[in-house]
Symmetry: C2
Subunit: 520 residues, 2 copies
């Protein structure tokens, strides 16, 4: 899927899929108040980067080239894209590490620890929360793990594989396909993010119910910490003390560098079917999704789009749309899909006619879903603010959350931008006890002020989430941007324990300083 | 279910279900070399306990009565029962705390911390791994939490409830029943263990697939640590840093005392069906169970009994028996059961005829399952050694594990007891990537030496598990008895992190010293 196309250094994905200047202008024309033409993309060769402050031994696989450093300066949030487009790369890493094996990871950490250098692990670099940039004063190295990209071992009986953490989604799936197995973890960033990144950030997959978080797919982890390598046993389940893996899952590179994991796999699905259901009222739509989430039917896909989101995806006019999908490697799924649509219908939904098992709205939605980040980048070149934030809360608060975000974040958008903007919402994942609403904000920005404007809107959004007890992040992770919200949410005794763990595992404070924990 | 029957102070469950002297003798007659009559049960009033070494302030809800102290001296392993029967209560707690609210918990911890007293949290006291006794030199208090037994809040929309940690299984289910909801977590100890105990030990429920561990049913936890109260947010899912709850789940009272949890509930099942399948060969039986575990059909019950286990349960002669159960609150289950039995048949199983949805073997097995601990106690009075150990490993190692345990633990039993003994096995839980085999050892002991004999057999068993990379415990927890196996299994960097967390949360080392972590 990544093939040979060149990765964009400033924006999402590959350069061949970026919007052309004319496409940018056309997209921007839909928002009043934007410039007529997109700002240019600076040429990599012309970027002015600060001088590197490190002199690594030549035995270490470190690069100080401008293109390598530029590509590893930011993640891929809207604010990252805007800063890159402006040519502002003042915080670029002093060097980029490209370990070829675990020994290299150990050596880079040892060298960095002794030289007072910070190390920020970098998988696919798709963080949208400031997880892969450094905001301190020390020299720093971005540690790009994509050279560790092999499936080392496959156990077809237990359906599990030992996979190096730097494997991008398509790279690991390509190696599993000959075994007729799949990890079946498809976050929106699938093409441009790695197993290690998913593990370090507790990523959410495409699948809407049951095992949606990567956490549940982990059999064991191998983690290089500055004070030693942690290797847990391959176990299907255990009650032996607190789970060692769960401490490293979500640790975002602050406790160690994940180098390998034994992951639970699945047979490749043989039967798939999808359907879409429309609702006139929010209440009925939410009730239907809740009934499905609580039914034990476990659809593979169960995404609810509000009318604005459905319009963005090109699938509806004024109604809520529920996209349902079922799949199985072991048994026929048509009956299961009927049970699901029956439930949705009993809550007041209108089931769209299906053609041969596939639903047109589901396909349209999937195409739009994968295209969305490229459109965002095109709009960023037009000085539009296009950004998302996501959360999760229990069902008893879902309606209030949706309404309050609409009202308060809407007001913030109007105040900050002077225009109406728009806020749309989909539920990306549903649980028996709650849902994960995912909001998209689109508004006209002022050239040069986009980052500050978005930060104001984001502060308003985080305030609503915190007040309503909704998580600061369901699957985007904490990084640096979510620290205030995370600190509010995290129980203080756990913070104390995490800081103590960090102090003994990473006494020099080398690893990803500022993420989750204040730098020492 | 517990009703008004008196709890046994020395053995499992309630006194009315204990075997009579004649029943003990009859059970013992099946094992050659045992005495003719059971040893007597010492009278509580006649026990000689060491003098209490503590003088708590009268404001604290602490008892120093002999019956209270005797009842809280041991858990309910075979070695506990044998020690209690011998009248050996030299390690009895100096006092027993009966907190009426969370404030009492805080006050007892504060007092203990300032007075150099150890505190061992005690739920139902059903630990079979030495989790509720103390083996150090300090004065100690057993903190009995069963006074905190209320369901404080029910959220029927999200299907969740806030429940105090000291509620025994039937006590909390009784309070949920009027809401037509259930926690649906039924470990074998259900009647005699508490929510807090399940959480602190990562208990496994009766349900054999999907959400079997209590971990997955937790929405949020409230934990009193010596340095503050930890309260996580109610969330259906989150990617905000490492899960705070997962650090306390399985912490076995070493980091804090769990006082409340918001737990995910389910609708009470309306349709149930069960079936049993027999296999002549171990290979076919294991293949069938694996196929089912990997099918995505998620049976509620999926227990495989080896021929010896089936015979113990009174359901078979010489064959492997697979007991399958399905249940749902939302949809009919007969079709699902057919899919499961078809799979089992395709692996070479013979499906027993069913009568009206219920299977006779399944019912027989359940009755035997609940009766088993009482039989064990009766046999313990006859100086027999009846004990279990359990583990989990990936499917690729299951056959080897089964064979090696049979050979090596069998040899240890013969060497230690001089008789053949018997080792039987069932798979209590199955996962897509592995199974949890549960072994039962029955052998004739020598009066006065049963504990030492069992400890030798257990050492041999733990050695096999460790060598094959199988967990030292799937759901019995670590306690004190599993420390060597746990230390072997636990990655050292995680041990370092856990000790650091303990040092900051419990600086005086008050909580359950010796469990998971060496006492300071």
């Amino acid at each position: 899927m990544t093939g040979t196309a060149e990765r964009s250094w400033w924006g999402w994905g590959t350069t061949d899929r970026a919007l052309s200047d004319d496409e940018c202008a056309a997209a921007g024309a839909l928002l009043p108040g934007l410039p007529d033409r997109p700002r240019p993309v600076p040429a990599l060769a012309e970027l002015a980067l600060p001088e590197s402050r490190v002199s690594p031994p030549s035995s270490l696989p470190l690069s100080r080239s401008v293109p390598d450093r530029a590509r590893h300066t930011y993640g891929k949030a809207c604010r990252d894209v805007v800063r890159a487009l402006s040519g502002n790369l003042v915080g670029a890493p002093d060097a980029v590490g490209f370990p070829r094996d675990e020994r290299d990871v150990v050596d880079v950490l040892d060298w960095a620890g002794s030289a007072g250098i910070a190390v920020v692990p970098f998988g696919g670099g798709s963080s949208v929360v400031g997880g892969v940039e450094y905001r301190g004063e020390r020299p720093w190295v971005s540690l790009d793990l994509t050279g560790l990209d092999r499936v080392l071992e496959v156990d077809p009986v237990s359906r599990a594989a030992r996979i190096q953490a730097g494997a991008l989604g398509p790279v690991l799936e390509d190696q599993l396909r000959p075994h007729d197995l799949t990890l079946r973890h498809f976050p929106q960033s699938f093409e441009f993010s790695t197993l290690g990144g998913w593990l370090a950030t507790r990523a959410g997959g495409h699948y809407a119910t049951l095992h949606t978080h990567i956490d549940d797919l982990v059999e064991s982890l191998r983690v290089v910490t500055p004070t030693g390598v942690s290797q847990s046993w391959r176990l299907p389940g255990s009650g032996a003390g607190p789970s060692p893996d769960r401490l490293f899952l979500g640790s975002e590179g602050t406790l160690g560098v994940i180098t390998e994991a034994w992951m639970r796999l699945q047979d490749r699905p043989r039967s798939k079917a999808s359907a879409s259901v429309t609702f006139r009222e929010a209440g009925a739509a939410v009730d239907a999704v809740r009934a499905i989430a609580q039914s034990g039917l476990h659809p593979a896909n169960c995404r609810l789009l509000d009318p604005g989101e459905a319009e963005l995806a090109g699938t509806s006019t004024g109604e809520w749309v529920l996209v349902l999908g079922v799949e199985s490697a072991a048994h026929p799924v048509a009956h299961r899909l009927d049970e699901l649509t029956d439930l949705a219908r009993s809550c007041g939904g209108a089931v769209a006619p299906r053609d041969g098992g596939r639903d047109a709205a589901a396909d349209t939605w999937r195409t739009a879903f994968l295209r969305m980040p490229y459109v965002r980048d095109g709009l960023a070149r037009m000085s539009a603010i296009v950004e998302t934030f996501e959360t999760a809360c229990t069902w008893d608060r879902v309606a209030e959350l949706y309404a309050t975000v609409g009202a308060e974040v809407g007001a913030a958008v109007r105040e900050v931008t002077g225009g109406p903007g728009r806020i749309t919402c989909r539920f990306t994942h549903v649980y028996p006890d709650g849902a994960a609403p995912y909001f998209t904000v689109v508004a006209a920005g002022r050239p040069g002020s986009e980052v500050a404007m978005w930060d104001e809107v984001k502060t308003a959004a985080s305030e609503v989430l915190g007040r309503l007890g909704a998580t600061i992040t369901h699957h985007h992770a904490v990084g640096r941007d979510h620290r205030p919200g995370y600190d509010r949410q995290r129980p203080e005794p756990f913070a104390v324990a995490l800081r103590a763990a960090k102090a003994v595992l990473d006494p020099a404070g080398v690893l990803n300083p500022g993420v989750l924990i204040d730098p020492v």
